[in-house]
């Protein structure tokens, strides 16, 4: 077991000066397969395309810096998703504060990010959730991940993730005027 006085902090991932062609190829392959979905997930948390892309690129940059070691992980794709999702949550929190200030200045924030959204009420309702709940809703409903994995990605225990989902679902139902318990078609 861990002991008091034992910090579990890890060293900063060093930048490797040289990488093999094979290693770069592996990274590029993972990037191509994972980056678009990471951007999409980040968008559902931040509701901003530029922010979502930057968040995703920051996460992949950290993966790239530690690639010589992180490539040996069982699921480096989950690692980078986790980093990106947590960065997206922080970005969304930052934007929430900013939005409050902008509201005070009577500047109405936009939700659509210039997109033609098929269900803008839903997206607006999701945006009203705390960032962690947004991420949980997206990972759970859109990406269809089991709650264990969802909780790991957003950074909470499974039980806490479950409770967050419960509250998010109830809030969305209330905002959207849907019934919480009606049967699925």
């Amino acid at each position: 077991m861990s002991e008091p006085g034992e910090s579990s902090m890890m060293d900063v991932v060093p930048m490797s000066a040289r990488r093999s062609t094979q290693s770069d190829g592996d990274f590029a392959e993972l990037f191509a397969a994972t980056y678009p979905q990471v951007v999409r997930t980040a968008w559902f948390v931040t509701h901003d395309r530029a922010a979502a892309e930057e968040v995703a690129q920051e996460a992949f940059t950290e993966l790239f810096r530690g690639w010589s070691r992180l490539r040996d992980f069982d699921r480096p794709d989950l690692w980078v998703r986790r980093v990106a999702i947590r960065k997206a949550q922080r970005e969304a929190s930052r934007r929430t504060r900013r939005t409050a200030l902008e509201r005070a200045a009577a500047t109405v924030p936009t939700v659509a990010d210039g997109l033609d959204l098929p269900d803008p009420e839903l997206i607006a309702a999701i945006r009203s959730l705390p960032p962690k709940q947004r991420a949980i809703v997206v990972l759970f409903y859109l990406e269809d991940r089991p709650m264990d994995e969802v909780a790991d990605l957003v950074g909470c225990s499974t039980s806490t993730g479950f409770v967050h989902l419960h509250h998010a679902r109830r809030r969305l139902a209330a905002v959207l005027g849907e019934e919480v318990g009606s049967d699925v078609d």
Binding site: M1, S2, E3, P4, G5, S7, S8, M9, M10, V12, V13, F31, A32, P36, V39, R40, F44, A50, A51, E53, E54, A56, Q57, E58, A59, F60, T61, E62, F64, R82, Q89, R90, S93, R94, R97, R98, T99, L101, T107, L117, P118, L122, I123, V137, V138, Y141, L142, P146, G155, C156, T158, S159, T160, V163, H167, R169, E178, G181, S182, V184
Partner: protein
Amino acid sequence: MSIDQRIRDGLRATDDRLPAPDVDHALAAVTTGVRPHRREAVTALVAAAAVVAVVVGVLALTRGGEDPVRPVGPPTPTDAVRDAAAPDPPLPARLTRRLRQIRDDGSRWPDGSGSPSPPLLRDPATGLKVQLYGLCDGGPCPLDADMSQLQGTPRALEVSDGSRSALFDVADAVRFVVDGMWWLGVNARAFDGDSVLVQDVTRVGGPIRFRLLQADGTAYTLRTVRDPAPARLAPGVVALERPAGRAGRQNLYLVDDRVATIRPVDVPDDRPRSWTAYDGLLLGVADACRLSWLTADGLHERRLDCGPGGRLAAAWTDLPDGWPRPGRMVVTEWVSHGSNLVNRWEFFVHASTDDGATWHRLPLGHDDGSLSTRIAEALRGLE
């Protein structure tokens, strides 16, 4: 249409509309380190660094969220620590002035105004508040400050109780953790009516420092003892978030008020990683419907009779007034049947009224928004 279907259909339809990012351009940006900076001008004068304070407590019994962890059983009176150990010497006047400057000129971390992120600590039960301040280049830290830029920035920790407040020095380590979590290097928990238990790291990679801080300016540094304490609930046992570890992972510690020490409690690693404080016990759940609870007698375990695929949550929602009493325990089970459609999930409540000797599994049905009511009804039926 159910809320689940509305969410799922809406998200999928939106996902289909999102433009595909330019993968080649992004890959080049990532591998060459040349990434665009999107940070648009911020209209506000208020600056607050976005931070992740790894402050995840146990599930709140009444709010379904995360809550500060308090000692269970009779609270350890800080007076006992005061008797056993001399308080830390007063801070030099120069350092005190510096801390005031950090507070007055710096940023609040995290910024609680309108932010979903909670303040570092605000304990309604005692009125104790803890606020962390940081100073960047002599002023507030920029909103878009990267966490790596916050490494080594001067900090101050303020403890207040509504009528008094005091500033304390706090470590300035910010480290990147391999699972993607930034940690500010300081955690705070309510300890008793007078004190907060603060963990910080005084140097990068160094040992954790545990202190009891009070709003009158008194600080007691606890001596850490590696020899684990027996797995028994005793005054001074606290569940603390493992610093910089995976969220939701807690370790149990014993603050010994006779000798002013803090020791790990000897709970094996494969036992629950988060604990809920009940009246007289700590309750934790683990995979495979395993339940553990720590009492004054020791660590108890039981595998509950769950349905196929059933998972346990140590706390779910409001318990009926008057129901929680010593010897009573409640956990909630949900069975997803492999589906992410929540309204198809089945819920059960497991309850014991005899210190865990016998357990009752009571069906709750599906989540139609009235689970709290049905949990209350089910529990009342046991009385």
